[in-house]
């Protein structure tokens, strides 16, 4: 089997195809700390793309409450157990952050079943309760005071919302598993699509995608998945001037302002081109405040998460790989530049390709307790974050202190 470089694992890995990467890659950062589980994103996607017959149980975007929730049920713990079974006690990372265990491409080869990737096909019932266990916490419930685990850095009783869609992976398992080569990754933006003409509904992609984001549609006998709202990425959505890429439906609908997306530039070897003025590159590679979801699966997902700061680290370590403590520390004690980028989340409909920060006056201070227990004073400056669209025009200009507009008296009640 060919070898490809998996930069998230810090090593080469087996993959059924030779390495091939797009010029630019669709990527996003979600700030888990901010999500309110309103499911506006979920409904934005559903009402745009999956409202037809046969798509009743199809949610390309979903928000599940961890640790018990999952769509399909227990998708992650099931696969983690399968990997553990194949490689007992071997799924670890070394001190340098290199993965020592096995990915789904390195354990799943079963020529008798034409299986190229370790995975499983969820049963119908596993798709039927997409939002079960919403807001169900783990730990002691109903107790008051510190016994209930209310002090940081880790709460004794906890849950958090995990927002999920297809990661438009750099080493997609869905694509690797398809016997008809009906799945392809676009050169221009790395979006992974299923060719509906070629698909015969073998469900190999459903079985292989570790995130379970390829879904089967029974009435067309094909599989379908998130299309990254590609008409919007191409700037062809009628909502806005032609030619300017705009954020996807699920991103632009986000009420909690937890989502930011962009296209990052790729090197030939699959790494990201050094581009610290791109907000996603900046958060993932400069600040390292956002981490990939289950990088150990091996697909090099392009969705990144700012981890929730109250959750037991052992759980987060398993979910996001190395660097959780550092990411949380940078988030709770952000640099001026990071604070400015955080202000850009959901501030514009146009995709931001580049940002700048203009320094402003100091406007306040705040005492911050780091995960280590150390206290620090965070100075807050009213800096201005400016985001530029694909054509280099200013898409948004926003200050850290939100401007206050007072409605004139005669319009107090008007809408």
């Amino acid at each position: 089997m060919p070898k490809v470089m998996n930069h998230q694992l810090g090593r080469e890995m087996d993959y059924p195809y030779e390495a091939a990467y797009p010029d630019r890659q669709f990527a996003f950062v979600f700030n888990i700390n901010r999500c309110i589980a309103c499911q506006t994103c979920t409904m934005a996607c559903k009402s745009t793309w999956t409202y037809g017959d046969g798509q009743e149980f199809m949610w390309w975007n979903n928000v599940e409450t961890k640790p018990y929730g999952g769509y399909p049920q227990h998708w992650d713990s099931k696969l983690l157990s399968m990997l553990e079974e194949k490689n007992p006690e071997g799924q670890t990372w070394d001190e340098k952050g290199t993965f020592e265990g096995k990915t789904i491409f390195e354990t799943g080869v079963d020529p008798d079943r034409d299986q190229r990737v370790l995975g499983y096909l969820p049963g119908d019932e596993e798709w039927q309760a997409p939002n079960v266990f919403e807001e169900v916490a783990r730990g002691a419930k109903g107790l008051a005071g510190p016994a209930n685990g209310v002090s940081l850095p880790e709460h004794g009783t906890w849950f958090f919302y995990l927002q999920r869609l297809c990661n438009h992976c750099s080493h997609p398992a869905c694509l690797a598993a398809c016997p008809r080569q009906a799945i392809y990754k676009r050169e221009e933006d790395g979006i992974v699509l299923i060719d509906q003409e070629r698909c015969r509904g073998y469900r190999k992609c459903v079985e292989a995608c570790p995130y379970k984001k390829s879904l089967y549609r029974p009435n067309t006998n094909t599989s379908e998945k998130c299309i990254a709202c590609y008409p919007r990425i191409e700037g062809k959505d009628s909502e806005i001037d032609a030619g300017i890429p705009i954020e996807t439906r699920c991103m632009s609908a986000c009420v909690g302002k937890i989502r930011l997306q962009s296209l990052v530039q790729m090197e030939r070897d699959g790494s990201w081109k050094n581009d610290p003025d791109n907000p996603i590159y900046y958060m993932v590679h400069e600040e390292r405040v956002a981490l990939p979801l289950y990088p150990q699966f091996g697909t090099s997902p392009n969705g990144f998460y700012i981890p929730p700061r109250w959750v037991p680290r052992s759980y987060l370590d398993q979910m996001f790989g190395p660097g959780v403590d550092e990411a949380i520390e940078r988030y709770v004690y952000p640099s001026r530049r990071l604070l400015a980028v955080l202000a850009l989340f959901r501030a514009s409909r146009q995709i931001i390709f580049r940002f700048e920060v203009e320094n402003g006056k100091k406007v306040g201070e705040s005492e911050v307790t780091l995960p280590s227990g150390e206290s620090k004073t965070l100075e807050i400056f009213n800096d201005k974050a400016i985001g530029y669209d694909a054509k280099g025009n200013v898409a948004v200009s926003i200050t850290i202190e939100e401007p206050v507009h007072v409605r004139p008296k005669e319009h107090y009640n008007s809408i």
Partner: protein, 249 residues
């Protein structure tokens, strides 16, 4: 750089217990007297339906679906629906109280049965808010929900197998000796009464309760309890004094 440990994710067994608990919680809320305890809201139905779907309990899901349209929409409606079926005092035809289904009617036995139920609650630190009787169906359903949550918490907090087993066996005893023993009878009586009074909502609730208690008996591997009519206590108890009809001995 931190080195992720290879931790286990919460077990699926915990999730199953939580889902079973959610069904009990819904039963409790559907049958609560809104003067004493929170009455079911639409989101309770959704949580119950999701739990049924999770458990692969599609019959439960359908039964909840059938209740949806007739769910009282406000506190007054809930109260009116409750008194329409159960009366202001204890309904003789479908009383929502455990001891009314016991063939023994002497007051001492009833008091000690009630004390036994309250004792169960007390051991687990549960006090009943409001003025509800400890043997009310909603209280008992809530208590079973609570025990399942306790079992999950004991597992999640790593309290050890012994403590988990204490809660699990209390759950089993409470179901076998109390809730599971009389609610099949109550569900049958309630269904008949609701039918006669045209109370669609409680008819649906009776069906859901009957289904849940059967499903739970199967989970625990115990036979479903025999159905018996409630004991009509309008007539004076045999050992009552004719003057005041209160017990004499």
């Amino acid at each position: 750089m931190s080195v992720p440990r290879n931790t286990t994710t919460p077990s699926e067994d915990e999730a199953v217990l939580l889902a079973r608990g959610a069904r009990y919680r819904l039963v409790g809320r559907l049958l609560a007297d809104s003067l004493q305890a929170p009455f079911a809201q639409p989101n309770d139905l959704e949580a119950g339906a999701a739990a049924c779907a999770y458990l692969g309990d599609l019959e439960g899901w359908d039964l909840i679906d059938a209740i949806r349209g007739s769910l009282p929409s406000c506190e007054e409606e809930a109260r009116a629906a409750y008194t329409h079926v159960f009366g202001i005092l204890v309904s003789a035809e479908a009383p929502p109280f455990e001891v009314e289904y016991e063939p023994r009617t002497d007051v001492f036995w009833r008091a000690s049965a009630m004390a036994d139920i309250a004792g169960f609650h007390g051991v687990f630190g549960v006090e009943i808010g409001g003025h509800e009787r400890p043997d009310h169906v909603a209280v008992e359903a809530d208590f079973l929900w609570y025990l399942l949550e306790r079992e999950v918490a004991a597992q999640a907090l790593g309290h050890g197998e012994e403590k988990v087993e204490v809660v699990a066996s209390a759950f089993r005893s409470y179901f076998v000796d109390h809730f599971g023993n009389w609610t099949p009878s109550f569900a049958v009586s309630l269904a008949k009464l609701a039918d006669r009074r045209g109370a669609t909502f409680y008819g649906g609730v009776a069906d859901f309760l009957a289904h849940i208690v059967t499903a739970e008996a199967a989970v625990l591997g115990v036979p479903p309890a025999a159905v018996r009519p409630p004991v009509v206590t309008d007539a004076p108890a045999p050992d009552a004094c004719e003057g005041c009809e209160a017990g004499t001995s």
